[in-house]
């Protein structure tokens, strides 16, 4: 008989799940900010800005998140910065999220008819003014469902940070399993917790999408 009760397991997992939530929020908010900057660069008229954004996006979309985590964690310590796992995890996830959000949002910006750009241009608005007052408010509406949908990917991606020793839900599961020898119970509960985080997100993404389709003319 193991000295650990089921409640012990659940309690410890819940504690670790907090870090999954915090890391997800950091990645999502940080990634949103960086993603918005990348979006501006990616859709700008300046060739250099566009190239830079494309390079960034392709780099982060074209390599496994795992490699990015390793590079941030081990790479930075190689060149003399000893980064703690939480920092490496936060940084890598933020930049990874930003690359995907920038691409998702670019699609939404490009879905705005050219006439909107031309009309606002002819009214003497600058690129930033056009984005801020004309294009983004319209793009935002179509961007909400895929953005919320992508947040599910972010939550699941935090599991990878266990590799570099950040103690979130997945890492905690492994540690608790090692102590309790009850992998099925532990990972079962962990999976339930991931599901409890992700399901409401993907469900609301679906609902939002349907709502926006029905209410075509909502203001």
């Amino acid at each position: 008989m193991s000295p650990f009760t089921t409640w012990d397991i659940v309690r410890n997992l819940l504690f670790a799940a907090q870090w999954t939530v915090i890391l997800s929020l950091v990645a999502f908010i940080g990634g949103g900010v960086v993603g918005l900057l990348m979006l501006f660069a990616r859709t700008s008229k300046r060739v250099a800005a566009r190239r830079l954004a494309i390079l960034y996006i392709e780099l982060f979309q074209g390599t496994p998140l795992l490699m990015q985590l390793f590079l941030f964690f081990f790479g930075l310590s190689l060149i003399g910065f000893n980064v703690p796992p939480w920092l490496a995890a936060g940084l890598a996830l933020t930049l990874w999220t930003a690359a995907f959000l920038a691409e998702i949002w670019r699609g939404c910006v490009e879905a705005i008819p050219r006439g909107q750009w031309e009309a606002s241009s002819s009214l003497a608005m600058s690129y930033f003014e056009q984005m801020r007052y004309v294009v983004l408010p319209q793009a935002l509406r179509i961007a909400v469902p895929p953005t919320v949908g992508f947040s599910v990917q972010v939550v699941k991606a935090t599991a990878l940070t266990s590799i570099i020793g950040f103690v979130e839900l997945s890492k905690a599961s492994t540690m608790i399993t090692n102590a309790t020898f009850q992998p099925f119970v532990v990972y079962g509960f962990a999976a339930l917790m991931y599901f409890a985080l992700c399901w409401p997100l993907s469900k609301s993404s679906q609902l939002l999408e349907r709502k926006l389709n029905v209410a075509h003319r909502n203001h």
Binding site: G115, E118, A119, S121, A124, M125, E129, V134, P137
Partner: protein, 241 residues
């Protein structure tokens, strides 16, 4: 001195030279109709005048503001000349009033109160004072186009470019827009319009420009252009050759 001075303007899309040396001077208060076959470069010419297209050669000057590809020059140019499009292009997420208020507030930093009063006045000018709070999709095509005119006017341009602004409208809605344009012309606004409304062009315009294959093929007062076309191409275009 002319308000709009277009000198030897050439424009290419790849190998396709669309404007082949355009010269045109427009005096302040002048109303000009541009006619011509599809593909003759009418839209391209208008789009060049407010910098929606770049030009390859020549110069365009509007009240001292020169067309150049950088933001500063473009902004200066666009503050002098407004444009109205065939497809209205109202901002669908804003009410009619907000559509009119937006650019004065954002570009000219006009305070909201003032911008609102100005928007109300401009909407009244186009006969839509009561539609301030209506969204574009609650308006008919003719009403939307009139809001677009009000929106352009709110920037107090010296000249307006109109590219077939009644072509997307149901026939019964054409007149309400033409009336607004006619009134603007009578009040002394400088207008450069591409149009297929020959009767309107004949009644309202000071000069008519016939474009053919990227050139100003014939130009003159409407009586001459419509009444005594000199070139075969114009005669064919008017269907009298």
């Amino acid at each position: 001195m002319s308000l709009i001075a277009i000198t030897e303007v050439r424009k290419r899309f790849g190998d396709n030279e669309v404007l082949k040396g355009i010269n045109l001077d427009v005096a302040a208060g002048e109303v000009i109709a541009i006619i011509g076959k599809s593909g003759s470069g009418k839209s391209t010419l208008l789009r060049c005048i407010n910098g929606l297209e770049t030009i390859d050669e020549g110069t365009i000057l509007v009240a001292g503001a020169q067309l150049a590809p950088d933001e500063l020059h473009l902004r200066a140019l666009r503050l002098k000349v407004g444009m109205i499009f065939q497809s209205f292009n109202l901002f669908p997420h804003l009410t009619a009033g907000r559509n009119v208020m937006l650019s004065p507030m954002v570009v000219k930093k006009v305070p909201a109160k003032e911008a609102q009063a100005e928007a109300q006045a401009r909407l009244e000018q186009v006969g839509l004072g009561h539609k301030f709070d209506a969204y574009p999709d609650e308006l008919s095509g003719g009403q939307q186009q009139r809001v677009a005119i009000a929106r352009a006017l709110a920037m107090k341009p010296l000249a307006l470019l109109c590219d077939e602004i009644t072509s997307a409208l149901d026939p019964e809605l054409v007149n309400e827009v033409l009336q607004v344009v006619g009134k603007l012309a009578a009040e002394g606004m400088t207008l450069l319009m591409v149009t297929h409304e020959m009767r309107f062009a004949r009644e309202v315009c000071d000069r008519v420009v016939f474009m053919h294959q990227g050139r100003v093929h014939e130009i003159g007062p409407p009586e001459e252009v419509f009444g005594a076309p000199k070139t075969l191409e114009l005669q064919q275009f008017l269907g009298i050759a």
